[in-house]
């Protein structure tokens, strides 16, 4: 270990080819050229093979061995531990933990071995390097600036003098620039309003999907649902009873069908009848609201059967069922659309028409 102490004399250039130079002298010459001054560079131990050094070396060796050992555990577990998922409390549940812990311990031990080596065994060092920031010398700035202007003159000035070229470049550049952007923009643009019925304003309950006949309400497995299937104080998620009605193809269609208690139903009906669009939409004590929150589109389906509130779990908007599902708390600003309910000849629920309000999160051009 070489011990260096701060010398006040600035270092002088030396001849590195001089055979008398030691390796450290040559290193110092390199440092001088990089404007580095070593203030301190000394062993952290007193004398060679001191007790303290031996202890540190022992610890580092131990860490390396721990790392290797943990890596072996990882490999052994990776190969032989049962890893296929099984239900219940099984050996395989510990596969990922064993991999994680063994790899973690292995890497951590390796890291600490390296760190301890760098920190404890390598000589303690304080170096100072000069830094140069700020602008380049003024003549350099001037030269580069003038060169740039010169180039500009040659190109731009040349075009200025030759009007034909100017026009031609303009004619070429503009279309070519658009060509670069066109495929991306053109390929991605989709008219959100195309289609009949317009997808933004219709759901799977639109009779179009059922040859003009009212669409039945169906469970997630497609079976239709009757009034007596829902107990008082109960609710069911229903979908349009059409092919793929319960899939994400009709992501705006999920609806919450609620069987209210008689007195709550009375109040709900009173409020619904007073509303232009919701009038006549209830069937007996049953009411159906779109499950898609008018705020951000999550299913607002946390139905509290005593307080008659619907809560959306994403942003905590709360809707009061008895009052046309008006929002009463949270960020939602628009009520949940009500599905006009009816019952067909066979006694199954149908949607008399599509939702009369726009379903789903709000947007600019919603009427």
């Amino acid at each position: 270990m070489t011990t260096v102490h701060h010398d006040t004399e600035p270092a002088q250039p030396v001849d590195v080819h001089d055979p008398k130079m030691t390796r450290f002298d040559i290193v110092k010459e390199g440092l001088r050229r990089d404007e580095i001054e070593i203030i301190t560079y000394e062993s952290q131990f007193q004398g060679r093979d001191s007790k303290a050094e031996k202890r540190v070396v022992r610890n580092i060796a131990l860490l390396f061995m721990l790392s290797g050992l943990a890596a072996l555990v990882f490999l052994a577990a990776y190969i032989w531990w049962p890893w296929r998922f099984e239900l219940g409390e099984t050996m395989s549940d510990f596969y990922t933990p064993i991999l994680g812990i063994s790899l973690g311990v292995s890497l951590f031990a390796l890291g600490f071995a390296i760190l301890a080596w760098a920190k404890k065994l390598l000589p303690h060092e304080v170096s100072i390097q000069a830094r140069h920031d700020g602008a380049s010398p003024s003549d350099e700035q001037l030269i580069t600036g003038q060169t740039a202007l010169f180039v500009g003159d040659e190109l731009a000035g040349g075009v200025q003098r030759r009007p034909l070229l100017k026009g031609a470049i303009g004619l070429a550049a503009a279309p070519l620039g658009i060509v670069a952007a066109a495929p991306l923009i053109g390929g991605l643009i989709e008219n959100p309003h195309k289609g009949s019925p317009p997808p933004l304003f219709s759901t799977g309950f639109n009779p179009v999907h059922n040859n003009g006949q009212p669409v039945r309400l169906a469970r997630e497995d497609g079976t239709p649902i009757r009034p007596e299937d829902i107990s008082t104080g109960g609710q069911a998620t229903v979908f349009p009873g059409i092919p793929h009605g319960a899939t994400n193809e009709f992501a705006d269609s999920p609806t919450l069908l609620i069987h209210l208690r008689a007195d709550d139903a009375e109040e709900t009906r009173r409020n619904a009848e007073a509303d232009r669009r919701n009038a006549g939409s209830m069937y007996g004590d049953y009411v159906a609201y779109s499950k898609i929150c008018t705020h951000a589109g999550c299913p607002a389906s946390l139905y509290e059967q005593q307080t008659n509130r619907l809560l959306c779990p994403c942003h905590q908007s709360q809707f009061l069922i008895t009052r046309n599902a008006q929002p009463v708390f949270g960020p939602a600003s628009r009520r949940l659309p009500m599905l006009p309910l009816g019952v067909d000849d066979e006694g199954y629920f149908v949607a008399k028409s599509d939702f009369k309000d726009t379903v789903g999160p709000d947007f600019w051009e919603r009427p």
Binding site: I39, F85, L99, W117, Q129, L188, E190, A251, S301
Partner: protein, 535 residues
Amino acid sequence: MKRRKVDLAQAPVAVARGTDERFQAATPLRALLNKVFPDHWSFLLGEIALFSFIVLLLTGVFLTLFFDPSMKEVAYDGPYSALRGTEMSAAYESSLRLSFEVRGGLFMRQMHHWAALLFMASIVVHMARIFFTGAYRKPREINWVIGIILFLLGFFAGFTGYSLPDDGLSGTGLRIASAIMLSFPIIGTWLSAAVFGGEFPGHLIIGRFYIAHVLLIPGGLLALISIHLALVFKQKHTQWPGPMRTNTNVVGERMFPRYALKQGGFFMACFGTIALLAGLFQINPIWLFGPYRASEVSSASQPDWYVMFMDGLVRLMPNWQIYIGNYSIPPLFWPAGVGLGVIFTLPLLWPWLESRKSGDKRIHNLLERPRDNPERVGIGAMAFTFFLVATISGANDVIADKFHISLNAMTWAGRIGLIVGPPLMYWVAVRICLGLQQHDREVLAHGVETGIIRRLPNGQFVEVHQPLGPVDDHGHPEPLEYGGWVVPKKMNRVGALAPAIKGFFFPVEKPAEAPVSPGMPPVSGKDREEIGSGR
């Protein structure tokens, strides 16, 4: 032909010479080997992000080998019995397969997810360090801007990755993303239709997010991280003020051997931490969430933590809808559209805003202790309080449920906290800074409290102070200038104990010998004397 004997000992020399003949590498390589880096624990926070990113690349490549970014409906038929026979997208099915049917696949997936969380967490912590120490000042404004863009890219990388498995939770997130796009005035519906290829959810979004997640965004991250590091190299790292440290030098260790070794060790520690997290804590159990269905949702539906501030702002927004004729702007637009824009634009401009206000156009290579710039600390405290309240509000339903608080009360607390909290924390932070400054000045003027009480002849008790600099004829310390350095507050720090206690938060090169103030010569071991009662 006579075969020449190969001298193995000379082989490295020959290779080195050959390399240099072709690339002239000797001089730049020496400069690299010799480059001096300052040493401080807080300079390692950004490294965590770098190392997490490397882990993300490694584990991410593994995951792509098994993931199928398709929304085609398939029926699951794997070992996870609770989903057998369930219709799901191929993306979700392949995510389940790589979790349960690929040896170590679940571990890799969890490592990837934890590394992503750690990446974003370390970016925020690193950014806080940069901000509170003023490291973004000239000449490093551009690197600050790159850092903010890195956070933004990480935000989108995280969100796209969260969406890829197409499980019940991520589908809900996608639905909200679509609603946010819809909320933009005028272009909303067109924007959503362009991104999703028609109405939500369509059949394209996973494929599009996949290419963004594995190519476009990581490409941007990689490029910007390279520039970020190159600029740190070119402009040299900032350093704390202290003995020998000036605005025109760097005091520290050379890159080789010690500094690089420490970096390598720290990389292993980061890697190990991520592996430990992945083994100890289950993350994102997609098999419980089921495939995404527009009708299904779970209580406590949240985005990952670095998106939670946005979700929190959305939750706290009052239901103000603005009507303009037949058109309207939904309340979702303000927190998610405008809010996100402002939250990223303001920090982007901050270095110039500050220098414009202070009129300071000088180059700063020395960091500022937070206490020396109370206004900056106050503004930082405001920003972080805002971020924190918004993030906590993003989980307000979980907090309400687990701590038995009313959900509505949590929302109101968040709304009030978002407005009252930041100014309050500004005031608190400024007061704390001023108090710390005051204490520094007191110690410089009177010396360190020794804890020794002396009784004066008139019966009065006074505490003996150890002056940090020279004393005048009456034994009173001469006032010292504050130099922006750490001022020792305890006798241990000025070498009252032998051996001195090791530096912990602030590394002390040589605590027993380092000059403790500009005007004081170094104290060596032999002229250190025990502090007595003075008698």
